[in-house]
Subunit: 121 residues, 4 copies
């Protein structure tokens, strides 16, 4: 089976400001090339508080899901905190591939960055 | 032989808008350092529809090919959908190295991102 | 245990100029998913002088730390040199994951880049 | 010994245009944490012509070298072609770590991208 079930992303941050029509945001982009749907749990680590571990998402078999972190809510309705450094653990029920990207329009124009997440197992 | 025959890229997106002279686009950049030409098949995965798997490209021996995804057509003349999240599988007849980049001029100025694709086998 | 204890980043640079409210900077983003605090030593390599190896930082258990390199001081109070190419070695007492990002506002708007660091052991 | 002796970078391009004071350029950023100087050979692969393989650079022991590709000349005085897609092979006499970055000021503001190169052996 292709991919890994756990992925880590140290540099997470939701910019509190946007300019123009593009909203600053991050996405955890998942690809599931297998034949089984992926049940995904996301844990957010912080610098000065306990991790938040009640976020869920899905990626169907032979589909991609670009999970928008600015729209994600945990099982109690809490969003991912804005303007605060965090890190992300992505744990899936089946092997997936994970890439993390940010679009930042804090200042004029827009900036993008991306990287493959770090594969654990 | 150097490289891998299958590569995966979860975060694909062709921005529908451009400003200035630079057209927003993505490129799948292939390097073939071997002595045999590479026959390449690209499959695009989506969030809510079946994959499109009839895209072909080539990279000659000891050459690079920066495959522009905004110009690619499949065997039936279909382009890669614009403004829609997708993921990419790159499968080659011989080992290659794959990097994926996006140039986004949706807003003023331009933004770039890149990452090595995820090597499978 | 998850992660590695040594990570390397060849492309380091603190831009001497900023525009707008965003200060140009780099961050070494550390994630520690283990149960033991990480004691971290950073060594900076240069093109034309001896390495500086007296920088320290920490990342508590189950926490992240986005270490701002423009604010870091070594044990003698020296900052990381500005406007000079450098490379970074991150050595930790326990396994961590390391990602490196730069925010550059030298010219109008802002530019971002990021990459996972190179894991050694 | 830390690092690899061969690294590959599929997406190379020197933008022909710059705006503002920042010159569009690429850099192959090398880190040599060993005790022996690195003698480095760079080969550039193209889409439609033979590779150029007479570029040399160095990185001393315990030093970094951010090799500016817009200033590099081969043994016959030829520069790296501008405005043309290429790929890069970096071969070193001793193990090194290689990261590749581009600064693009083709349009207003500046854009940056970076990635670790692909390690071969």
């Amino acid at each position: 089976m292709i991919g890994k079930i756990t992925w880590l992303i140290p540099d997470g941050f939701l910019p509190p400001k946007s300019t123009g029509e593009q909203i600053s945001h991050e996405a955890v982009c998942v690809l599931n090339v297998g034949n089984e749907d992926a049940d995904i749990r996301l844990t957010f680590y912080f610098e000065d508080r306990e991790p938040m571990d009640r976020f869920r998402a899905a990626c169907h078999a032979r589909r991609t899901h670009h999970i928008r972190l600015d729209r994600l809510k945990d099982s109690e309705g809490n969003p991912v905190p804005i303007g605060v450094p965090y890190a992300i653990e992505v744990a899936s029920s089946v092997p997936i591939i994970v890439q993390h990207s940010r679009l930042d329009t804090t200042q004029e124009a827009l900036a993008l960055f991306t990287t493959m997440a770090y594969p654990v197992e």
